[in-house]
């Protein structure tokens, strides 16, 4: 059975099914409101430059939009069981792993569409305000290195973990985890992952590649550490998908 064609087919149709959901647009617009509020507050200063605006746009996009992405992706795998589609899918010759990768990629790509559109609205505002065409290239670079790895990280776990957790429970735990692991300020003296490379909001990449300090962290990372943080986040998301695949194979063998 041709794995690329199964993966491609799953990617295509999972994309279609996800992009058609009105709820993903609603959830992402709502979560972007927090980003917009913080962003506008930070660039309201007249001395703020286009570079600052782009950097804060990327930073605050990375803070909240992955939460929205994780929430709307949490039901993608569990849905097959809920709709009883899993019974016929299990009789198909195509590889389960290929389908799972296709599902992850397709539904994540669809979820990225509103994220990118919202981000582009911010970039459009910056272009209109500062008239600096170089902002476009910087906006692209910052998007790829700062919010995108975090979104892929959130997506991987959101597709995978509901295999063992009920979707609403996962969603609640995920939101709690996100704020604890990524946005816990040191001033609260609560141990968290915020200062580690597991911080999925991109502070390592932000400081390493663009030398732009994160709001409440001082990391001083090297470029290699910036690269390592991105690889770690994306790698963990694929590991989560692999773990889900192994679990599903084990569950199948037990039936």
């Amino acid at each position: 059975m041709n794995i690329p064609s199964v993966t491609g087919g799953a990617l295509r149709y999972e994309f279609f099914m996800q992009i058609r959901r009105r709820s993903i647009w609603l959830v992402l617009i709502l979560t972007s409101i927090l980003s917009v509020i913080l962003w506008l507050a930070f660039i309201s200063d007249a001395s703020a430059q286009a570079v600052d605006a782009i950097m804060y746009l990327a930073e605050f996009t990375a803070w909240f939009l992955p939460v929205g992405a994780g929430l709307v992706l949490a039901d993608r795998l569990a849905r097959d069981k809920r709709l009883h589609v899993d019974e016929i899918l299990d009789t198909f010759p195509g590889s389960l792993g290929a389908r799972l990768i296709g599902k992850y990629l397709g539904s994540t790509l669809a979820t990225l569409v509103p994220v990118i559109l919202i981000y582009m609205l911010g970039v459009g505002y910056i272009l209109a305000r500062y008239h600096d065409p170089h902002s476009l290239l910087l906006a692209l670079e910052t998007f790829i290195t700062i919010p995108l790895p975090g979104i892929l990280f959130a997506a991987g776990f959101s597709v995978a973990l509901p295999v063992i957790l009920k979707v609403p429970i996962y969603q609640i735990l995920f939101v709690g985890y996100w704020f604890w692991a990524n946005l816990m300020s040191p001033r609260f003296h609560i141990p968290s992952l915020t200062g580690t490379m597991l911080n999925a909001t991109g502070p390592w990449a932000q400081e390493a590649f663009f030398h732009f300090q994160w709001v409440f962290l001082r990391l001083n990372p090297t470029v290699w550490q910036g690269i390592a943080s991105i690889i770690l986040l994306i790698g963990l998301s694929f590991l989560a998908i692999c773990a889900a695949w192994l679990y599903l194979c084990w569950e199948r063998a037990r039936r």
Binding site: S5, Y13, D90
Partner: protein, 298 residues
């Protein structure tokens, strides 16, 4: 392609014996599997489809073993399955759903796949609603789409589990005719508790009860076994009692005519009559007790 099942058992957690040393040979063509709810029909279907693993016993689909991972993988390539509870993605159209299934079943060539999808939609009379979302479909339309997805890869083995449950009579007839057209060179295993579905489509049948096969043969053989066991009792008095099962009661005004199946002692008003398949089924259920089951271990 025929299917050979030898001493197949399936025990679920909690020591629930769904199948008890079941042995069966399913020849090519239309084959009916009858049995009451809980007889083990769906468990057997799921084992044949590779969704469940048996606790013990062997199963061969043609030359392929259905109890090994490798064999199951090969069987899935020649299999079409329509489950009892059919799930589909409601936001896809009929065309999109079939196209997706075609991709997952290995129909890589886009042009050929599209032609196949259009051909199937025509066959199941859904061409005019091909672009409508599945969530707008009636139960009968979903069933027809279900059979289309099952045969998109032109399978040699088609397993259909309770396909007409919940359908109105017209839809049921349409579906039966569709299934009959699909017989031919493939093995079609039709599992149902609706006797009429079997009577209209299958020559070879098996009857299951409590995880075992209590009859395997042709419809004619089953009817022959029921000869002399079916009676019409017309009475104006109380419901007749005895060692028999009342299959139907027809109110004729002053009298009620009861159709009964069983061993009848001579009585007034009892007239022997030709058995039908439903009578044969009732007679089997009445007379056959399942064999006692020991503790099953893997």
């Amino acid at each position: 392609m025929h299917i050979k099942i030898d001493n197949l058992s399936k025990t679920y957690r909690g020591n629930v014996h769904a199948l008890n040393s079941l042995s069966l040979i399913i020849p090519q063509g239309m084959f009916g599997l009858l049995g009451p709810n809980g007889a083990g029909k769906t468990t057997l279907m799921r084992i044949l489809a590779g969704i469940l693993h048996p606790s013990s016993g062997t199963l061969h689909v043609g030359q392929y073993s259905g109890t090994s991972e490798k064999g199951r993988a090969v069987i899935k390539q020649i299999l079409g399955y329509l489950p009892q509870e059919l799930g589909m993605y409601p936001d896809l159209s009929a065309y999109e759903f079939l196209d997706y299934v075609g991709l997952l079943k290995g129909l890589k060539d886009r042009t050929l796949r599209q032609q196949r999808v259009e051909q199937l939609l025509e066959m199941v009379a859904l061409s005019n609603v091909a672009r409508r979302k599945i969530k707008t479909f009636s139960g009968g339309m979903k069933r027809r789409l279900g059979i289309a997805q099952a045969i998109i890869n032109d399978p040699q083995l088609l397993i259909v589990d309770e396909p007409t449950a919940g359908l109105d009579p017209e839809e049921r007839i349409r579906f039966r005719n569709l299934l009959t057209d699909l017989g031919g060179n493939r093995t079609v295993l039709l599992s149902t508790h609706i006797v009429e579905d079997i009577a209209q489509t299958c020559q070879n049948i098996a009857v299951m009860k409590s995880g075992q096969v209590i009859f395997q043969g042709t419809v004619a053989q089953m009817l022959q076994a029921t000869n002399g066991k079916v009676w019409l009792i017309t009475t104006s008095g109380p419901r007749p009692e005895g060692n028999f099962t009342i299959v139907s009661a027809l109110n004729m005004g002053a009298n009620v005519q009861y159709r009964v199946v069983g061993n009848l002692s001579p009585r007034a008003g009892a007239v022997p009559t030709e058995p039908g398949l439903e009578d044969g089924y009732v007679w089997l259920m009445h007379t056959h007790q399942p064999q006692p089951v020991g503790i099953q271990t893997r």
